[in-house]
């Protein structure tokens, strides 16, 4: 019985100095199975993956491949046991072709040169393209191997990543074990359906380890679920015998709270903060008209090509538009400008946290006061003590961990980084319009709740919120109004306060 299990970990531990990243973790992957691995950020999922893929070596414990003890001293060794990892961050070189990307790192496993795809450093394009096409076909994709990765959608890029992992782990006599690390974090709802088929196919070829922090997905995709918390595996359940509440409790150690709120019934009388009339930008969006009132959460939904990000950026002044008008608090803003927007009480939380909203290398306190310096600061000199006090206030309000104002923001987990970035904007005492682009992308349920609570609090104080939600469920549970966009145009508007709450299917129908 033992020999039929392609991969298992026995009592694996790993420490970094005093920090225990993995504590006595045991786990086994069976053939033709999708194993879910869930846990909040910092629960030890990433460390576990790094052990599986040969990046970290465990301090104690064993890795067994078909019952045989093995050491994964580097990623190539893991690949020889059939383990292929699709990392959370994209690992594709965007200006090269799909085929090049799929076959590039197989040189690392020394199997690439055998059949003369590259001889004397010169490519045999025909063979490279043929082989890539074959691998893509195995996972049911018809992406042209010659196309450049930068021309592909995110969903297709993910396919290429999977094909690449499959190629790396392809070894004679070994069934591939494909690890998908948060594969849905960059995907939209309709792309996730595509991924589901993907995973089904991979399951026929071998096994899949599916890492996520979205409960609904794990329950949809996986046969068996392992839950991690505080560097340990705290539970293992068959999907058929578990419900979301139990998983949430295992994951966070606390009861699930309701994330939807009481809807504000008296919105009709409140002031219109943002009024867009026929806004258009060539090639991006056209004829966008909508109103966002004080205290309202207005969600824009659509696929990632629908133009909703562009609309938000245009309102904030980060991109240009060429027709229509933007009225902000009743006044026409002919050309939104970043600085004026910020000082006029507009906040914009971009989706690319690491690139656009935080300054890595600066402390939590400094990041908090990057935009608004608070009443106590003088105009020229920074008062470090006041800054630290202010930071402490936010840290306790938002439960930012670790609670150290001087910690480098880059050392925080994603969820905590996002809290800091959000607090940076909430710091503005005149905040009247909050534009949120995927505020909960890539953060765990606990942090998600904290972020939602803050958004509601800002609304209570009269701010208007323009939201691009991470999922449709999120939009439905948070928003007062949902505007659906497709190909740069508005296709439907739902007023949730009137009691008519749209279903998932109704929204998708307007999106595609």
């Amino acid at each position: 019985m033992q020999e039929t299990i392609p991969l298992s970990l026995c009592n694996v531990s790993k420490s970094f100095g005093p920090v225990r990243a993995l504590n006595n973790v045991s786990l086994s992957v069976r053939t033709h199975e999708v194993l879910g691995l869930i846990g909040e950020n910092g629960a030890g999922k990433s460390s576990l993956l790094k052990v599986l893929s040969g990046i970290y070596q465990p301090d104690s414990g064993d890795i067994l491949v078909y019952g045989q003890k093995r050491t994964f001293s580097n990623p190539a060794a893991a690949a020889s046991a059939g383990v292929g990892v699709v990392h959370q961050e994209q690992s594709l070189v965007v200006n090269l072709s799909v085929a090049e990307n799929i076959l590039m790192s197989t040189r690392a496993t020394k199997s690439g040169n055998k059949d003369c795809k590259v001889r004397f450093g010169i490519y045999n394009w025909r063979k490279i393209n043929e082989e890539a096409a074959e691998i893509l076909k195995r996972i049911g994709s018809n992406i042209n191997p010659k196309s450049k990765v930068e021309d592909l959608s995110f969903a297709d890029r993910q396919m290429v990543e999977i094909a690449k992992a499959l190629q790396i782990s392809r070894q004679p006599g070994v069934q591939p074990i494909i690890v998908l690390d948060e594969p849905t974090s960059v995907l939209e709802d309709n792309d996730i359906q595509q991924l589901e088929q993907e995973v089904r196919r991979l399951k026929e070829i071998g096994s899949v380890i599916f890492v996520s922090h979205r409960l609904d997905e794990v329950m949809k995709f996986c046969d068996r679920i392992c839950v991690m918390r505080n560097s340990e595996v705290v539970g293992e359940r068959l999907t058929s015998k578990v419900n979301a509440d139990e998983l949430f409790r295992l994951m966070t150690g606390r009861q699930a709270a309701t994330t939807s709120r009481e809807r504000n019934k008296s919105l009709r009388d409140s002031a219109v903060v943002l009024n867009l009339e026929g806004l258009g930008a060539k090639g991006k969006f056209s004829d966008i008209s909508l109103k966002v009132r004080s205290g309202e959460i207005h969600a824009l939904v659509g696929t990632n090509r629908s133009g909703r990000e562009e609309v938000c950026r245009a309102v904030f002044g980060a991109e240009e538009f060429d027709s229509g008008t933007v009225r902000y608090n009743g006044k026409v803003v002919s050309r939104p400008n970043l600085r004026e927007s910020v000082y006029g009480g507009v906040a914009y939380l971009p989706s690319e946290r690491k690139l656009e909203s935080m300054v890595a290398g600066m402390s939590v306190a400094e990041n908090l006061q990057l935009t608004h310096r608070g009443e106590r600061a003088s105009s020229i000199f920074v008062n470090p003590a006041a800054r630290r006090d202010k930071a402490k206030e936010w840290i306790s309000k938002l439960d930012i961990r670790p609670p150290i104002p001087d910690a480098d923001i880059a050392s925080l987990s994603g969820g905590n980084q996002q809290k800091v970035v959000l607090a940076k904007w909430l710091e503005d005492c005149q905040l009247s319009l909050l534009i949120l682009d995927h505020p909960t992308r890539g953060i765990d349920p606990g942090a998600r709740e904290d972020v939602s609570t803050q958004i509601f609090a800002a609304c209570e104080e009269g701010a208007a919120v323009l939201l691009i939600a991470d999922t449709l469920e999120e939009a439905i549970s948070l928003a007062d109004t949902i505007t659906v966009m497709r190909d740069g145009e508005i296709t439907a508007t739902f007023d949730l306060n009137s009691g008519a709450i749209p279903t998932h299917a109704e929204l998708v129908a307007k999106m595609i």
């Binding site: 010169i122 450049k148 021309d151």
Partner: protein, 339 residues
């Protein structure tokens, strides 16, 4: 290219380019169009002098050294690095070549050995730049700035106190001789360009250059030996500069320290005008060819249009700045970071 830029423009690009075949996007069409426009303008303004065989010969002569230099520079710039040592390496190679061939200062004559040693010296200087850049992690512009002056220094020492003149018939006339209608120098440079095009499209060397330029971290995640590869490319650039130095000396007949004066500006300008991004990963050989021809033809045109030699430098600089702005115009985006 910045990731965020990618994300922002992704939806936009998808809308715009839906329907166009993937993988067939030609990034050099813009610069080529600019080239055609410039040629047309000059043909109309100066039909009797611009569209002549003599002028064509003059342009090919002028373009041969920039072609070779631009090949080396393109590979370096594609990686997101820069090589400022061009003029220094040219000077060293030139002096080594002249002093080791039959010349007026000493009695050494190594024949074919002279250019080979000069090329080797240039390659080593590039190699050194690459090694220092990668091992000590110093920005390439700083290291190559140093190599530039080291090169000029070596050349100055070798120069001594009298101008060494080439005395061999072959060495003195080979570069300018034109048995094929155009000068040998141009023939060499065209062959060189074709090899460079092949290397950039079909070899690990070329493809890894693009990969490193797109994102060094991702490239190394994909098992690309980034540092080693960078050293190779810098060595290639050193070789190119040395070849330009040898050809330049053969054409001039003497070995001088300021042989390469002005080439650095022309080469980088040509690469950028051609649409090769200084941030790396985009552009390539065809782009640089278009860029070189634009720069050379603009300079040629200024002479034909009778711009006073006193103003020529300034005007050519101005024209090049305008050209750079024009070619980069479509890629500007308000939040793109340009350093």
């Amino acid at each position: 290219m910045l990731h965020s830029d990618n994300l922002i423009s992704n939806g936009h690009r998808a809308l715009v380019s839906a329907g166009s075949k993937p993988g067939l996007k030609k990034e050099w069409l813009g610069p080529l169009a600019a080239l055609v426009v410039v040629v047309l303008i000059l043909s109309v303004l100066r039909p009797s002098t611009f569209l002549t065989w003599e002028n064509f010969r003059a342009i090919t002569d002028q373009a041969s050294i920039p072609f070779i230099l631009a090949m080396g520079a393109s590979f370096v710039i594609l990686m997101g690095c820069i090589d400022l040592s061009i003029e220094g390496v040219m000077a060293t190679a030139a002096l080594i070549f002249v002093l080791l061939s039959a010349n007026s200062v000493n009695s050494v004559d190594l024949g074919i050995g002279a250019p080979l040693i000069a090329l080797l010296a240039g390659t080593l200087m590039g190699l050194l730049t690459g090694v220092i850049h990668t091992v000590f992690r110093v920005p390439s512009f700083m290291v190559s700035l140093g190599t530039w002056f080291i090169g000029l220094g070596i050349a100055t020492v070798l120069f001594g106190d009298s101008i060494p003149q080439l005395s061999g018939h072959l060495t003195r006339t080979w570069a300018s001789a034109s048995p094929l209608g155009v000068s040998n120098a141009f023939v060499v440079s065209v062959v060189f360009v074709m090899v460079a095009k092949f290397v950039s499209d079909n070899t690990l060397m070329g493809r890894f250059t693009y990969a490193i330029g797109a994102d060094e971290n991702i490239a190394s995640l994909n098992a690309v030996a980034v540092n080693r590869h960078k050293v190779y490319v810098f060595a290639l650039a050193g070789f190119c500069s040395a070849l330009a130095g040898v050809i330049g000396s053969s054409r001039l007949g003497v070995g001088v320290v300021d042989l390469g004066s002005g080439q650095l500006f022309q080469t980088i300008a040509a690469a950028v005008i051609g649409g090769t991004l200084l941030s790396g990963g985009r552009g390539g050989v065809i782009n640089s060819i278009c860029g070189v021809l634009l720069v050379v033809i603009i300079n040629n045109g200024l002479i034909l249009l009778g711009v006073s030699p006193v103003f020529q430098r300034a005007v050519s600089g101005l024209v090049i700045v305008v050209a750079v702005v024009a070619t980069a115009f479509s890629q500007r985006s308000r939040l793109r970071i340009v350093k």
